[in-house]
């Protein structure tokens, strides 16, 4: 999708955020200007109209994931949902114990929420996944302790797109009476979620990864058996006391419409995107010395994360500025470390530095993919001509054995 208004690059960063679907935007607008009421106002039609819209949207969220609307709590986004789930549940059930298990490859919103729990006296285990990004179930099982109170594992990874075996992990949690939270921010509209069947207690959702607006999300809180959480934001007792604060009907309506479209169009859309991913993968792996990060089978079709060996990530991002992608390179992040997700898979710093995440979606076209392949082939070639590492590799030098002056 080329942005027509400005001279913008082709958007290939759908895992960062998605454009709001025009159908969603259209549905949101009246709730800013006309039906602007506060859904908590019970005494007049303005409030009633807003409340009705909020409850309709709640039903849409529940329908997408086969849950009861009463199990859906509105939040400001997946970061808040993750914080509410992790801190809220571990605090409520802290009598059972103070041990939390999560993955080293989780989103920072989970990792840092767990770190905060550590700060206030909990103990945490950050499990390293296998080199393909998936959690080894036996390894996970052996980490559970009698005092384990909560496990948090994401459904779809934001950097490498791998899909964890939530059923297997959840069953082990059930057997051990452990609360199970799942961050599904990257999963809605991409993988089928059936909370009637899945052994999951808490699940985080985001609107803006699924063609809804930024600034709104939801947390699923299971009712049978009933899961309790301590609120993290106190106030007017909204959302049955779990999350106070005036609801934002226009945002919520947007999320509801986005999730309705996801439910109705997911199968068809995934087929189309799978074809694009296959094409992109085939084209890019024709380039020598490329490495796909993360399992290719248990993966959403929207994501392709590839390391281009002997090319540095930031210079690559500069070279391919006609497409908007993100990199695992240190230079593109606030910290000076390369992607902690790729490092946790055991990827070398060099390969982590030279990784590009291509994430495609609803508005990606076949010609976008063709353009991307041609661009990468040209620019990787150019940068490798510049690369002393490529020259050494071609001369048969084992780069592992070179003594580098680390700086």
């Amino acid at each position: 999708m080329k942005n027509k208004l400005h001279d913008m690059p082709i958007y290939m960063d759908y895992s960062a955020t998605t454009p709001v679907d025009p159908r969603v935007a259209k549905k949101m607008i009246p709730y800013i200007t006309e039906d602007f009421g506060n859904p908590a106002s019970r005494s007049h039609p303005y409030g009633w109209a807003a409340e009705k819209a909020v409850e309709n949207a709640r039903r849409e969220i529940a329908l997408l994931v086969n849950a009861d609307p009463k199990e859906i709590v509105w939040t400001s986004g997946a970061t808040e949902s993750n914080n509410l789930a992790i801190k809220g549940a571990s605090n409520f059930y802290s009598k059972k114990g103070k041990h939390i298990i999560t993955l080293a490859t989780e989103h920072k919103a989970v990792i840092d929420a767990v770190r905060e729990c550590e700060r206030v006296g909990y103990e945490a285990t950050f499990l390293e996944p296998e080199p393909n990004g998936l959690l080894d179930i036996e390894k996970f099982k052996s980490t559970i302790r009698p005092d384990t109170v909560l496990v948090s594992v994401m459904l779809v990874n934001n950097e490498i797109g791998v899909i964890q075996d939530i059923t297997a992990i959840g069953n082990i949690c059930r057997e051990n009476n452990v609360i199970f939270h799942v961050d599904a921010a990257q999963a809605t509209g991409k993988v089928k979620i059936d909370l009637e069947k899945l052994p999951v207690d808490l699940m985080s959702f985001s609107a803006h990864k699924t063609y809804g607006p930024k600034g709104v999300g939801a947390l699923y809180v299971r009712r049978k058996p009933r899961i309790r959480i301590e609120p993290q934001i106190h106030g007017g007792g909204h959302e049955r006391g779990m999350r106070s604060g005036t609801l934002a009907p226009h945002q919520i309506v947007g999320m509801g419409e986005a999730f309705r479209i996801a439910r109705e169009e997911m199968d068809e859309e995934n087929n189309r995107i799978k074809n694009l991913q296959t094409k992109l993968l085939k084209g890019l792996t024709e380039i020598e010395e490329t490495y796909v990060n993360g399992d290719l089978e248990k993966r959403v079709p929207h994501n392709l994360n590839i390391s281009f060996n002997y090319v540095e990530g930031e210079s690559l991002i500069m070279a391919i500025k006609d497409i908007a992608v993100s990199s695992g390179s240190a230079c593109t992040s606030a910290s000076l470390e390369p992607s902690y997700v790729l490092r946790a898979l055991g990827r070398s710093d060099e390969l982590a530095h030279s990784s590009i995440r291509f994430s495609i979606g609803r508005f990606t076209t076949e010609s976008d993919v063709e353009f991307t392949i041609a661009l990468l082939k040209e620019k990787i070639g150019k940068l490798r001509e510049l690369s002393p590492l490529w020259e050494m590799y071609k001369d048969g030098v084992d780069l592992e054995k070179v003594e580098w002056a680390e700086h």
């Binding site: 210079s315 500069m318 002393p388």
Partner: protein, 126 residues
């Protein structure tokens, strides 16, 4: 990251990319940095019979600023004596390319590469 026009120019049109035979007694090679840190620079200088650097070439694995820093110094090195070459300071490189503070290390690496190449050449001349 917004780059200066000069960085972009060197990045888009790098000068003097390539390699000399590192076993040539008139060629000095400096290789600095480490792949794990995201920067490796290889800088080579070729000395003429008059003791003056007649040519320079580079290859760099690194960000745009690292590529630009090494490209720039290959231009500066030509026509200099070894002692003059060793006097090139990273601050001059950083100033010429208007490098932001987080990219100063790229200019430091280029200075190190010059010093390493000069040292290599001097040791060969002995």
């Amino acid at each position: 990251m917004a780059y200066s026009d000069k960085v972009l120019d060197h990045y888009e049109n790098p000068r003097n990319v390539g390699s000399f035979d590192k076993n040539d007694s008139n060629v000095g090679t400096g290789m600095v940095g480490a792949p794990a840190c995201g920067d490796v620079m290889k800088l080579q200088i070729k000395m003429g019979s008059n003791g003056i650097i007649e040519d320079a070439k580079f290859k760099t694995y690194g960000c745009g600023s690292a590529i630009a820093s090494s490209s720039l110094v290959t231009e500066w090195l030509k026509g200099k004596s070894l002692d003059q070459a060793a006097e090139i300071k990273n601050s001059a490189i950083a100033e010429e390319l208007a490098l932001p503070p987080v990219k100063i290390h790229c200019s430091v690496l280029a200075e190190d590469a010059i010093k390493a190449a000069v040292k290599d050449l001097k040791s060969k001349q002995k």
